[in-house]
Amino acid sequence: MDRAKEILKKNTMLIALVIITIFFALLTGGTLLVPRNVTNLIAQNGYVVVLAVGMLMCILTGGNIDLSVGSIVALVGALAGTLIVNKGMNIWLVMVICLGVGILIGVWQGFWIAYIRIPAFIVTLAGMLLWRGVALIILGGLTISPFPDNYLNLFNSYIPDIFGGTINIVSIVIGFVICVIFCILQFTNRIKLRRKGYAIEKPIFTIIKSAIICIAVMALSYTLALHAGIPTILILLAIVVLFYSYFTKKTVPGRYLYAVGGNEKAAKLSGINTNRVLFFAYVNMAFLSALAALICIARFNSAAPTAGTNYEMDAIGSCYIGGASAYGGIGTVAGVVIGAIFMGVINNGMSIMGIDANVQKAVKGLVLLAAVAFDVLSKKRGRIA
């Protein structure tokens, strides 16, 4: 029974996400979960997931946040627009240049934060103004559009269905393959653990866990199949999420992020180059901001001077809702993805219901506060116990 309680406690945000999804599905008369809207939800929130994953790395290093991401999105978008639309350059080359520029921006900010030790809040606040200004200069205050089809297709298309028919078979096949792979991994992991003599959870838990995940994956792939299939953006998101999930969990530099955030002094005395860890977090953030910019210009089919406004807040909000600690050292990529979907569902649900945009903002603000308050209070209780 304790184990069940523990699982519930560990997955509070996931359960909250399910509840809020059901809540909005009911309020919108099911519109929230129709295939077209689910596809839409993914396209709408792709950039948030990318930015939130980057933001997690910054928050892990000690509750620092990067305020400049929205402006970097605008700047890189402006650059891409100019090079692709106005100069007609090769889109692949432009994408490489844009990601490179992202890294350079990150090096600039990371240098001040990690080596000169100016608080991240100040450096990125300056960056927020600076990069927005540069974006405006590049665009001359004007919006660039439209983008060529070959660029738009890269991000906005779907995995083509080779079978034909009313529903997308490829989507269902991919979903099925993922489920099979997942179950096999669970199974082999159990065998491996048992062979080494480690404690393993009861089979019932493994089965329930696998069943829930398979049902979720199949439901998603079926829903997507009913519309147009798996969007390419979902593939990109999956790559980003899997890569950073692996990075934070299974690699030494990932471990160091947590160590620096958990106790910087102890990390330093353990021989960790704490400056380099901080530097990396901000370079990586700017790199992912550039990636988000490439996604955004494709989705909006334009590079606008106001693009990316308040994106940093979406990213920060996703992290905190997803259980990252405001003091650093705690948080997972999976949690952040849940946080991002949570925010996306609230946004989307309220939009479908036709709630006023201003009210939507207020609600989002309250949700963010509630999530962080929950985090802080639950820790306090933990200390007393």
């Binding site: 690699t251 030494v252 002094k265 102890a266 353990s270």
Partner: protein, 512 residues
């Protein structure tokens, strides 16, 4: 005949796992200067924290009777209202505020929403005059030296109509003339009717000002000496402070042979990172052999931790000069990583602040300092990590529910074992242990001592910093005595005794 101003009767204070004070009694007469002496950890500061309300009523047992009535302080404000003011060793002044602002911080003159600055500075200047500090009260705290800051603290206390002034090591960071001035001020205040309790290690200062001396040892009151009746010579006080018998609290070390020199430090000098003209470590030279446990004795603030940290890859201080030799070869270590690679490690005295990551599981803490042992091209081998963590948890008999338990949930002794595990995992040859048994119970101490014996029998060298003299005497082959940044003596196991070490420290303290 004036009666007792303060009686603390039968005070017992427990912290998780330790009894800090055990039926302690302290009686202070009105108008006297009462000294409180004892080794580090004897319970002096704890007693004063109870008196001032930092440890509130209910968290201890016993009675505080002040001016004839029993007091139940729950916070500092309660005791201050009665005229009891404590001045801590670490001064509590805001550097970027003026003297006047600091003196009336929390006690602002004028209305709550209309501070009267003219009145503030007028009163402040008056009080500064009383304590003999010739500075304008509009001077910023950051612009005056530590000795003057101490006087500001006393002036601040006077502004609260102090009746009982408590000073915790007031002269620890003062030079001779500043200390003299401060002590004379206390004598002057005594004539004005202010009673003082002074905690100090400098026995010559105590003989100079104190009327009575209460000696604490291991959380118990040993005796109270009266200047007019008893012998209050330094020897007498020292024997009272250290006079416990050494029982068999230390495991015997067998089959250990002392080999060649493994670590040598020559003419090591370190300056304070902020107050850059202050020498924290002054021309220190020392040696450790293979298979040897070498101790460094000294009081808090003697520079022992700073010495260790500066050796450990310059992790403390600036303008570090001197030579460092490991196994006879000169090395230059610029950061902790390089030190670890040379198989030199430092185990912090502050396991929560500098040693462990409390929110992380035992497993991650143990492997953190040497991740390359459980990873391949930066990819962590989860199995290898689990095996390594389990091995050390078993080896040191760390009590935990699993290796995934967050370190913050363990008891102090088990946290210390995780910390030691972490550094044993780094495969060191030379280990610097800073207060390895601080804040842990007797049983866990014994286990830590056994681990130390095990390590030296494997041919490692141990440099052990401790404020507990019996521990150094019980564990070390050789002891260096450090005071005020310098090595002031070296004694072998055979010739060492608490009296010799304490005497050496006190003799070399810059007193009056």
């Amino acid at each position: 005949m004036p009666g007792y101003l303060l009686e603390m009767v039968d005070i017992t204070k427990r912290f998780p796992g330790v009894i800090a004070l055990n039926h302690v009694n302290l009686r202070v007469m009105e108008g006297e200067i009462h000294a409180l002496v004892g080794e580090n950890g004897a319970g002096k500061s704890t007693l004063m924290n109870i008196l001032s309300g930092i440890y509130g009523y209910g968290s201890y047992e016993g009675k505080i009777i002040y001016q004839g009535e029993e007091c139940k302080f729950t916070e500092i404000k309660d005791s201050e209202r009665k005229g009891i003011v404590i001045i801590h060793q670490e001064l509590a002044l805001v550097p970027y505020m003026t003297i006047g602002e600091n003196m009336f911080l929390g006690n602002e003159q004028g209305g709550k929403y209309r501070i009267d600055w003219e009145e503030t500075y007028r009163k402040a200047d008056q009080l500064l005059n009383t304590v003999g500090l010739h500075e304008s009260s509009r001077t910023y705290i950051k612009d005056i030296g530590i000795g003057k800051q101490q006087l500001v603290e006393i002036a601040k206390a006077l502004s609260k109509n102090v009746k009982l002034l408590i000073l915790d090591e007031p002269t620890a960071s003062l030079n001779e003339s500043e200390a003299r001035k401060l002590l004379d001020l206390l004598l002057h205040l005594k004539q004005k009717g202010v009673t003082s309790i002074i905690i100090s290690h400098k026995l010559n200062e105590i003989s100079y000002v104190a009327d009575k001396i209460t000696i604490l040892r291991d959380g118990s009151t040993i005796e109270t000496l009266d200047k007019n009746k008893d012998d209050i010579s330094e020897e007498r006080i020292i024997s009272g402070m250290v006079g416990r018998k050494l029982v068999d609290r230390f495991p015997k070390r067998t089959n250990t042979t002392i080999g060649e020199v493994s670590l040598e430090v020559k003419n090591w000098t370190v300056y304070h990172p902020i107050f850059t003209e202050r020498k924290v470590v002054d021309n220190v030279s020392l040696r450790i052999h293979k298979g040897e446990v070498v101790g460094i004795a000294g009081l808090m603030g003697a520079g022992r931790t700073e010495l260790a940290l500066s050796i450990f890859g310059k992790s403390y201080g600036i303008n570090i000069s001197g030579n460092l030799y490991i196994h006879g070869k000169e090395v230059k270590l610029h950061n902790a990583r390089q030190a670890i690679e040379r198989k030199l490690v430092y185990i912090s005295e502050d396991r929560k602040g500098n040693g462990l990551i409390l929110a992380n599981p035992i497993r991650e803490n143990i492997t953190l300092a040497k991740m390359d042992k459980v990873s391949n091209h930066n990819i962590i081998d989860a199995n290898a990590e689990v095996i390594a963590a389990k091995e050390y948890v078993e080896k040191l008999q760390t009590k935990c529910t699993s290796i995934e338990q967050p370190v913050g949930n363990l008891s102090g002794g088990n946290q210390q074992k995780v910390l030691v595990s972490k550094w044993m995992f780094a495969d060191p040859d030379i280990m610097i242990l800073d207060e390895p048994t601080r804040g842990i119970d007797v049983g866990a101490k014994y286990e830590i001592y056994c681990i130390i014996n095990q390590l030296v029998s494997e041919g490692k060298s141990i440099l052990m910093i401790s404020s507990e003299l019996p521990e150094l005497l019980g564990m070390c082959d050789r002891i260096y005595i450090m005071n005020e940044g310098r090595i002031v003596g070296e004694v072998s196991k055979e010739e060492a005794s608490q009296e010799i070490i304490m005497g050496q420290i006190l003799k070399t303290s810059k007193g009056v």
